[in-house]
Symmetry: C2
Subunit: 367 residues, 2 copies
Amino acid sequence: MVKMISIYNLFPMFLIALTAPLLALSTNYEAIAAAQGIANAKPGVRHVPERNIPIPTADVSPEEQTLIGAPYLPVFNVHPKNSDEWKKLIAEVAANVIAELPEIKKRLGVTVTPTTIAGVKAYIVAPTTIPEKNKNRLLVHVHGGGYVFFPGEAGLREAVLMAGFGGYKIISIDYRMPPDFPYPAALDDAMAVWKEAVTMASPKNMAIFGTSTGGAMTLAMILRAKNENLPLPAAIASNTPWADLADIGDSYKTNEWVDNILVTWNGWLGDAAKLYAGNHDMKDPYLSPIYGNFHGFPPTILTAGTRDLFLSNTVRTHRKLRRAGVEADLNVYEGQSHAQFGDDLDAPETKEAFSDIANFFDKHLGK
Amino acid sequence: MVKMISIYNLFPMFLIALTAPLLALSTNYEAIAAAQGIANAKPGVRHVPERNIPIPTADVSPEEQTLIGAPYLPVFNVHPKNSDEWKKLIAEVAANVIAELPEIKKRLGVTVTPTTIAGVKAYIVAPTTIPEKNKNRLLVHVHGGGYVFFPGEAGLREAVLMAGFGGYKIISIDYRMPPDFPYPAALDDAMAVWKEAVTMASPKNMAIFGTSTGGAMTLAMILRAKNENLPLPAAIASNTPWADLADIGDSYKTNEWVDNILVTWNGWLGDAAKLYAGNHDMKDPYLSPIYGNFHGFPPTILTAGTRDLFLSNTVRTHRKLRRAGVEADLNVYEGQSHAQFGDDLDAPETKEAFSDIANFFDKHLGK
């Protein structure tokens, strides 16, 4: 069996020094504790010393240990200077993702059919055989990628995993993105598809799901559907959502340099936020749904990791949903950085996370 | 109204330097990113630079911001050298906790009556008026404190909060502790009370709850009740449980020096673990319940914080419960260190956390 390549193989390798300097970190606990005690003896900022953090092993599969211990994504601190540089980077990343898609589709028995819905490019993603209970159900998928990455087939990976592990038929939206199409193009496309999709199945048999940017767009779609009096789905999955587009939220700081996928808001991520927002206020709930009104939301499942740069985005969303009286289910994976629960098809955590979401949908969707 | 004093006032102040040195931290992002990129360009340990982390403000109440930004608990790195030093420390801490108890009882309208159950010291904690739906319900509380702190009335604070916010009648167990009574005395006492308690109410109308050490003992009590064919409660709350007594779990490292309550396993906490375990294997499920079999557990609610040293203890327990088919509800509070959701009676997060647990019990307990 071909070992699935990890997300680390999906990004172009930028020139980085391959030999890390020997780190002269103090291992004298008493000296560190004494210095820390002094540095944190007054109220205010938390001072944290330089550290080496080992790979966790307890209750973490060997496959996830490999992901958790992998180097930073080399792309983390790339800052494209203009549209052409963005497009070149986006194309390189996309090519690498698309290259592994046939193998994933084959292993999970999933077919992909390009289509156009309400003038928006999309794909129908479905298992070869749809289980009886899912015959009248339909999911809508919004992919991640910081509003810049994963156009076209490159955005399908997660939809293929959900179709394979959950047995659902899925519309995956290939929404327009920066640099050519900043906000509101992506959300406009997603809403155009949603308006059409609710005529293809009963909304009470439907769910919307996505991860990261897709998780935030899932929330924004519900906010907008509420405001526009459109039908709501029966459930949503908002995985480690980019709920606050700005660098607001504690884990942007506590997990900065700890998360090996996003690493820091100040890398490409913050550039992408500004590119997407354009002249719009990042605190507009359609851009940062954490600032929206969550009353009346459908039951929501959220998934993140303890090292996730978006852990705070996730738990802030979870608590705000709870405070609004919404049934909200939180799952946090040990040691994982951003969205690593989906990065290796062979990791038991991948099957577990997608099965948990599928079971949550199964509980809430009509048939 | 008297402002409730925080947990910071509950510990004796040890001699610490009051003037932190000016930290010459680099704020040059590009320099840090470049160095970090190099240090994390190969698989293995995660290198994290020295940092100052600000107090989070979004979706965090002013009261919790004060707790999150408070200095390290000065006791964090105290290492008593013998039984007498432990007892002196334990007594000092207890006196401070007990001093504020009358005010908490008064504000929440809760009464406390000392008793003895099956030869074990305990307290009956109850609101002045018990709501009709809770008349036949009974909770059992096991307090926290690393198996060393909070004997006698000092262990009652959390039970008073639950009686006040939840309207429940509660048995709070004053179990024996080190240095005089290492494992299994604490668990033996808790089980003796449980065996008697299930004759005082129907087990399907009962729940067990606790935080930290009390959260771990709650899990261990279920493991032991299963093994001894005793009745199980209808639900449990295991808040930020000390599920792994050894320093195993990712947040023992990622949140080391970040959590301002426990700070590090290598302080008093690890000493307490060794004192409690004595000659017993720390991986014995009765000491570290994460190594137990969770099949057949009652519905469980877990609560922790993103900066919590026990975040991994909590999410490992949550996922293991889910994998065993148990209904398990996870709540993680933004920016909070260990168990800060209960540290300030005036913080809305305190009422929210205890109300969430009470509602979870209300959903699962018979009447």
